[in-house]
């Protein structure tokens, strides 16, 4: 048996191990009502993440060039098919190894960090689901499979933000982040449907047929993907959720908003590059959004009074630059930038609790304060940074319109029900 024969098994192991472990732990707890010991929980999830990393390593060694591993069809109805197909290439391997390595490191770090914390089991179950999600996105050779992983990451991200659920602020932040995710994910969902209808399949290889599409259709498809990407990667105008997302435990802030999740939108654009390539308008918009986010984040980072907030906006600035690189066609540079940036930020986030102590010790705090003084920036720019362009308020106002419409509809429904039912129901 050659190494290449191991590819299907390695792909299955890499993707399924952490998720299966997490689901089993969750079902066991739900069914028996007993919570497993910390050592068991952390040990099982760490082992499954290690298995995932080893699987990714085998894939990296065994594959040369681009491979497609086909497990048949998940759904097949006439000509409609959702294939279970995985693509192995340098982009997939880079992101998969990055995600598995960082998840493993964070799992190890968190075993100590969250010792005796309520929600220890919840944390590790979510971490397992997240790991499966990232691997699905990495290797997914069909848009449906990528979306599956994409959603798993979104849900685990939202639950991590609201991890300390006794406090109001984390809960509000998690609802806000999820709402923005969901709105932008609608772009991905729509893009899947459009891809199937215009290109005949949701396989990533079918996206190469985008070159034959009329410009308008290709641009629409690319813009839908771009919407999904900017939501997940917190680009303008959806940047407001990122600093709020740091309400979760520090290790997950590192993993999600420094390492993996924040770069997921960029990875999606690398994956669907054949569509972006033939849509110059979408590329132009992507470059503009990326550069605008970089400038915005830079301005905000200079006015931030908290370490994590500054770090979040520094991350955002780099992610904006990577987005601009991708949309400018510098995809290899963007991939290298992405991987390097992810490792750096995870390290910085994990060290964030010590950062202030270090700054005091080395005297950096004073210089940092001087650097951030208003005199170094224009007054207007400083105010924009300080108030973050009032992005959240603007989004809230837009959302309020939908809620008002919902209230009107609800009121109409109550009146209709009032005609047929007893009066006490009509509150």
């Amino acid at each position: 048996m050659s190494l290449q024969d191991l590819l299907p098994y390695s792909v299955a192991l890499t993707i399924a191990a952490p998720g299966a472990c997490a689901v089993l732990l969750g079902l066991y707890t739900l069914l028996t009502g007993r919570t497993p010991m910390e050592q068991t929980t952390a040990g099982l999830i760490r082992l499954s993440v290690l298995a995932s990393f080893v699987g990714a390593g085998v894939i990296a060694f065994a594959s040369t060039g681009r491979h497609e591993v086909d497990f048949g069809a998940w759904i097949r109805i006439g000509t409609y098919e959702v294939p279970v197909v995985f693509i192995i290439d340098k982009v997939a391997i880079s992101f998969s190894l990055l995600a598995a390595a960082l998840t493993g490191l964070v799992a190890r770090f968190s075993t100590t960090y969250l010792h005796k914390e309520r929600g220890f089991l919840r944390f590790f179950v979510l971490l397992g689901l997240f790991c499966t999600g990232t691997q699905l996105v990495s290797y997914g050779g069909a848009l449906d499979l990528m979306f599956l992983g994409w959603e798993l990451i979104g849900i685990s991200s939202m639950l991590f933000i609201g991890f300390f659920h006794e406090r109001n602020e984390p809960v509000r932040s998690s609802v806000r982040a999820f709402s923005i995710y969901r709105v932008c994910d609608a772009g991905f969902l729509f893009a899947i449907v459009v891809s199937h209808e215009l290109l005949g399949s949701t396989r990533l290889t079918a996206l190469e047929g985008a070159a034959a599409l009329p410009v308008m259709e290709a641009t629409t498809l690319a813009l839908l993907f771009l919407l999904a990407a900017i939501g997940k990667s917190a680009q303008l105008p959806f940047s407001g959720w990122l600093p709020r997302a740091l309400e979760g435990p520090t290790p997950t802030s590192a993993l999600f908003y420094g390492g993996v999740s924040i770069h997921l939108g960029l990875f999606l654009l690398l994956r669907i590059w054949p569509v972006m390539e033939v849509a110059p308008v979408a590329k132009g918009i992507g470059v503009a959004i990326g550069l605008a986010t970089a400038l915005y984040a830079n301005a905000v980072a200079r006015t931030c009074s908290d370490a994590k907030g500054a770090l979040a906006h520094a991350t955002l600035a780099q992610v904006g630059l990577i987005l601009a690189e991708i949309c400018a066609g510098l995809t290899t540079l963007a991939l290298v930038h992405l991987v390097g940036h992810a490792f750096l930020r995870v390290w910085q986030y994990l060290r964030a609790p010590n950062m202030i102590h270090d700054a005091h010790r080395t005297g950096l705090a004073a210089s940092a304060r001087e650097e951030g003084a208003p005199g170094s920036l224009g007054r207007a720019l400083y105010a924009s940074g300080l108030f973050r362009l009032r992005l959240d308020e603007r989004i809230d106002r837009a959302a309020a319109l939908f809620v008002a419409l919902g209230r009107t509809l609800d009121s109409a429904d109550r009146k209709l029900r009032g005609l047929f039912t007893a009066p006490e129901v009509n509150r």
Partner: protein, 357 residues
Amino acid sequence: MIQTVLAAATAAAMTLAPTLSTRKRTQVPLVLALTILVVAMAAAPDARTGFALAALTAALHAVGAWRASRAGGVAMLLAAVASAVAAVGAALGRMDIAFVASITAICIRAAVVPLHVGTTELCERAPGEQVRQLASLLTLVLVHVRFVADTPLAREAAQGLFFLGAMASLLPGLASLAQRDLKGLYRMTTMMHGGYLLCAVAAAGRGHHAAALFSALTLLLAVGGFGLVVTSLEERCGSVSLEGRGGRVGAFPHLACAFAVLGAAGVGLPATAGFVADDLLLHAAWEESVVATAALIIASVSLAIATLRGYSRVFLGPPVRSVAPDLLLGERVVIVGIIAVLLLMGVVPRLIIGDVT
């Protein structure tokens, strides 16, 4: 064959679920009769028998619902009449009449706007009966797909019905954002899925049978399961408001987990039957109308946000103490069973799709 058996088994199990999950053993003969009828309906050899059994089933639901909710009972009676008309139409060979009557019965029972009033009353006042009628609705959809979904009228009416279904899901989807109590959220969830089911049944007229079956299955398992969780919670806490934060996750961790999983499955959580249903339905939607596709996606997004908001308002926040127990063994077995089936259908959808296509 295996698809019919699985659908029948799921429907029968869900008919028994409300009785199994509670210690109050009321209406046991009625529930047993319903279980037998549901299985017989799934195995009906022709349209006439299938719709006649559906009429009988709906009449029994009306009996079960009457004491708790007159409006719910009347709605079930109307559904029974519609099913009886479908049976007569099928017996006379007028499949167009059977199709129209069958669609009417499905709309009433799935709470499709504006025919939703009676069924949504069941959500509020007779939640157990609502789960049971959703179970027999699955087999009614199976009968519809097997016998009347391929008529010429079904093909001609598909686009119009699809558009109506999309609007019927969009309106409650948006209204779900404004709900102030948990029952209201459950009601809107049911109505939104009713619209989805109408779309899927309409799409069955153009050959998308699997979409119809999966939508009915999701309505039964995810929304029915969600209803059981809401009922269990209200038995412990009384009426649950969505104003402020409830902080109940510490007191009821398993209830919270079940609420989150079933609520999320209803809005297309990956690896559940809900995800497959959404995927199949959106594929069918594009062939009918781009506007309808957009409406369905907006409805799903709105309901997902409302469900998370509901979860955060009910379970998260400063903890409260409660002397009431978390899910009891019977409830746990039922809920875990529902989640397991949702996962199974989501991971191996071919179990249900198979030769139905």
